[in-house]
């Protein structure tokens, strides 16, 4: 059963479509990420689900009932803001108890529930502190506890890691995902950070200009992007325009940037103009020797960036394009480093070339 459904949900500001007729259904307990650049409509979508923005048209169904026109406080939606929005004049305990107090719950029951959720997020010792006395990570846990204690049907997260430093962010990612799984709560997560999207989501919804470009698991989105935009937005990629010049059964010959290569693709027809994507980690480079293979090309190292676990090279292929290559800097894999201007052999395997049709 779908817990949340967006049916043709649209938000127009004058003639501008902030969100343009999007359809999405989220299963019970699913973690769905809205990913896209700023202005793509992801936050507008989230705020429509929360009830702060009234959709121009379309339906929003949460737990079987249409929520369009229902004010935020009657929606049972837990919301965590980018800046946490903790009430600065209330202690941690009062912040967390606020939602229950609004439900006019009994004092003893409130205390019990607050204690339980503070324990879950490991904040019971800090319950009497004021928000300003907490670190960023602790503040975020309070915001999470405050949203979860009302036992909402949906958890909405609006770039909740934006204000944390990198180590803490990685840590909170895992913590949040564990908690979400444990409570089995349907979650919509908004971010522009592809790493967050890839590492946390059951499904990713890539958005651009108010429209959904692609919905899929992190794996599907990364490996089989539906468009050049998706390919370019998630991870690093080499993207080229290509033309199919020859077909021999399953083998199709394509030409791009002066290079000719044979790939296997069922959909491709002769003279088709397509884009191809090659992920930098799927390209190998070797010390220079004579090009013996059709998939090997001569080139030289134009620049290199040391990134720790990988080394990123820009290689200019002879009579061809400049291509980005990520080499695994592993002691076990016997990685050989290359110097700038060194001549190398680039191996473009047909499996590495993904045609975007």
């Amino acid at each position: 059963m779908s817990n949340i459904q967006l049916n043709n949900l649209t938000k127009k500001y004058g003639s501008f479509n902030a969100v343009d007729s999007i359809n999405l259904s989220i299963k019970n307990g699913e973690f769905v990420t809205l990913l896209g650049p700023s202005g793509c409509g992801k936050t507008t979508t989230l705020r429509m689900v929360a009830g702060f923005i009234k959709p121009t048209s379309g339906d929003l169904i949460i737990g079987g009932s249409n929520m369009v026109g229902v004010p935020p406080h009657n929606r049972k939606v837990g919301l965590v803001f980018q800046n946490y929005a903790l009430f600065p004049h209330m202690s941690v305990r009062k912040n967390v108890a606020f939602g229950l107090k609004m439900q006019k719950m009994q004092q003893s029951l409130i205390a019990e529930k607050v204690n339980k959720i503070l324990e879950t997020v490991q904040l019971q010792e800090l319950s009497e502190r004021m928000p300003s006395e907490l670190s960023g990570g602790q503040q975020q846990r309070v915001a999470l506890a405050r949203a979860l204690v009302i036992e909402p049907e949906v958890l909405l997260l609006d770039e909740p890691f934006g204000a944390l430093d990198k180590n803490l962010r990685d840590h909170m990612r895992i913590e949040l995902r564990d908690l979400q799984r444990k409570l089995n709560i349907s979650t919509i997560f908004v971010t522009h950070d592809q790493d967050e999207a890839l590492s946390m989501s059951d499904r990713i919804v890539v958005m651009e200009k108010g429209k959904i470009c692609q919905i899929g698991s992190p794996n599907e989105i990364y490996e089989n992007p539906a468009s050049v935009f998706v390919a370019g937005f998630l991870g690093l990629s080499n993207i080229f325009s290509a033309v199919c010049t020859k077909i021999t059964r399953a083998k199709k010959t394509i030409e791009f940037e002066g290079l000719t290569i044979e790939i296997e693709s069922e959909k491709l027809n002769k003279s088709d103009e397509i884009s191809i994507m090659i992920r930098p980690e799927n390209i190998q480079i070797y010390k220079k020797k004579n090009a013996s293979n059709k998939e090997d090309f001569l080139g030289f190292i134009k620049s290199k960036i040391y990134l720790g676990s990988t080394i990123q090279y820009q290689v200019k292929i002879k009579d061809g394009p400049i291509i980005l290559i990520n080499a695994n800097n592993s002691k076990i894999l016997n990685f050989q480093d290359f110097d700038t201007n060194e001549e190398v052999l680039v191996h473009l395997s047909k499996n590495a070339i993904y045609p975007i049709i």
């Binding site: 009830g51 609004m102 004021m130």
Partner: protein, 276 residues
């Protein structure tokens, strides 16, 4: 070569502007406080005339003022007006500030300019206008005239102080409250108002003091009734007695105490509690 020159220049740069600033600030402070200090000293004279410095000292004039029925009545009227004006001004001004900050952007500037214009309009013009209206409704020389008249000049101050607090208020706090089950009203009540309380308190202080001190507009509206400033004025019309200095010193003391107390409270309610 360059290094030594630089350090010399830096020495001059850090010292002289600071000295000038200190001298200038001291002068301003002196000119602001000197009349008040002289007035307070004069009020403790034991003579029947004002002079500085007084030949003899005593609290004779304070006793006279405190036991004088005229001064008592005037003080009572001024306090009554200020006590009614302050909460009304706070509520109405806050509502306007919310309307301006949260309402449609179109026309906001114009409405704001009109709403706060009594701050800059000559009070004599306002007084004349209000006098006409009061005559029309036959309410002059009563609280029904004094209170609304004072509100016209106190509300703009509340609009400005509360408006400033609202501008820096993070509206996502209110949204957080609403997503947690608070209706719009309760979100403002439990979250927004406590957080903008420094602005509310400043607005209240301004309202009280401005109403308590108001002279020009009240002068137009009063016939027999006398507020404290009116009583001071009419006393001065006849003679310059040290009693006027004593009243001034007392008024000053009340205003100062009120300001300090409310400011301290404001800090406790607003920022102080957060830091503690």
């Amino acid at each position: 070569m360059g290094k030594k020159l630089m350090s010399n220049l830096e020495g001059y740069r850090s010292l002289w502007p600071r000295r000038i600033l200190v001298i200038f600030s001291s002068l301003v402070l002196f000119f602001l406080t000197a009349p008040l200090v002289i007035l307070i000293i004069q009020s403790f004279t034991n003579e029947s005339y004002l002079s500085f410095p007084p030949p003899t000292y005593g609290t004779r004039w304070y006793t006279e003022v405190i036991y004088s029925e005229d001064w008592q009545n005037a003080t009572f009227l001024s306090l009554t007006i200020a006590i009614i004006v302050t909460p009304l001004s706070l509520v109405l001004g806050t509502l306007v500030a919310f309307g301006l900050e949260r309402g449609p952007k179109k026309g906001k500037q114009t409405i704001q300019a009109i709403m706060i214009s009594p701050m800059v309009l000559p009070h004599i013009v306002l007084g004349l206008g209000l006098f006409k209206i009061a005559l029309q409704f036959n309410i002059s020389d009563s609280l029904w005239a004094f209170v609304p008249a004072h509100l016209t000049i106190t509300i703009p101050f509340v609009i400005v102080t509360v408006g400033a607090s609202l501008q820096t208020f993070n509206t996502s706090l209110e949204e957080a409250a609403r997503s947690l089950g608070a209706s719009k009203f309760w979100a403002v009540w439990y979250i927004t108002l406590p957080i903008i309380s420094p602005g509310l308190i400043a607005g209240a202080i301004f309202s009280f003091i401005i109403s308590f001190d108001e002279f020009i507009i009240t002068f137009f509206l009063a016939t027999f009734q006398r507020t404290l400033p009116l009583e001071m004025f009419s006393t001065l019309m006849y003679q310059v007695k040290p009693s006027i200095a004593a009243v001034s010193a007392l008024t000053l003391a009340i205003t100062a105490i009120l300001t300090v107390v409310l400011m301290f409270r404001g800090q406790v309610v607003g920022g102080g509690k957060i830091i503690k």
